[in-house]
């Protein structure tokens, strides 16, 4: 498959930037977590693009690890969201300003 390498890099860069904008602009903590998933996916696309370009499977192995860590992150992150919601009745990050109450 002869997809130009720089087009893949541009796609991953655009996805990463969309994720960063989502983290910075949105106030809903669930959407912020989803934006972080998008950032991780953009990084993964880079791993696979270079793996395919150099015919070296190491990039795909790290892609698998990346997905695993994303799953772990989202499980803990959403558990924190539920714990916060139980105590504060909010999903707005601007109102999450206390470590303890």
């Amino acid at each position: 498959m002869d997809i130009p390498q720089h087009h893949l890099l541009i796609l991953s860069l655009v996805l990463l930037t969309i994720g960063v904008v989502g983290v910075l602009v949105r106030r809903n903590v669930i959407i912020i977590l989803m934006s972080i998933e998008l950032i991780l996916n953009a990084a993964n696309l880079n791993f696979v693009a270079f793996s395919s370009h150099w015919h070296n499977l190491t990039g795909q192995i790290w892609g698998v690890f990346n997905i695993t860590i994303a799953a772990a992150e989202v499980a803990v992150g959403l558990a924190i969201v539920i714990a916060l919601f139980r105590n504060r009745e909010t999903v707005n990050v601007d109102e999450m300003n206390l470590m303890k109450w």
Binding site: Q5, I18, V20, V21, I30, V64, F65, T90
Partner: protein, 166 residues
């Protein structure tokens, strides 16, 4: 333009549209569904790049597991959407500048580090899944085990955090 390239552009556009819709939707459920669109498009690009195993993992873990978890939590905590942006003009400007700088920096880095001609490898006699599996259980055995431990710790952590307080 050959078919593979056209399919790549189609799914790339779909991924970008899904991402943009995800960060602009008011309703969190709509945002989650658009994120599924992005994940499936990226999975299709993995197929084009010859990473069949990652395609399967992406669809199963991301589009299946993680997004169901997100939807589940959205249903549990769904409230009225907080105001789109409450930080005022200064924070919006700072965010824009930071994002633009990040974009420019990475674009410059990528443009400078573009690799040369691809290596033409001998066609593989084994499938992608077999190759990845062999590598995972030989060269990357230690990271593999460490990551499984991390998953266990994350699972216990999620259970402890999500448990109702006594």
């Amino acid at each position: 333009m050959d078919a593979g390239l056209a399919i790549f552009y189609f799914f790339a556009a779909l991924a970008v549209v899904g991402g943009v819709m995800m960060i602009t939707r008011k309703n969190a459920v709509h945002a989650a569904v658009y994120l599924v669109l992005t994940f499936v498009s990226v999975a299709a690009i993995y197929i084009l790049l010859g990473a069949e195993f990652l395609f399967a993992v992406q669809v199963l873990v991301y589009a299946g597991g993680i997004m169901v978890l997100f939807l589940f939590v959205i249903m549990l905590v769904n409230l009225e959407e907080p105001r789109r942006f409450s930080g005022g003009r200064l924070r919006l400007m700072t965010s824009a500048v930071v994002t633009f700088l990040l974009f420019g920096m990475l674009a410059r880095l990528f443009a400078r580090s573009l690799p040369g001609q691809a290596i033409v490898a001998a066609p593989a006699t084994e499938g992608n899944l077999q190759l990845v599996g062999t590598l995972l259980f030989t060269d990357y055995l230690l990271p593999f085990e460490v990551v499984s431990l991390l998953l266990l710790v994350a699972m216990i952590g999620a259970i402890v955090l999500g448990r109702p307080r006594a």
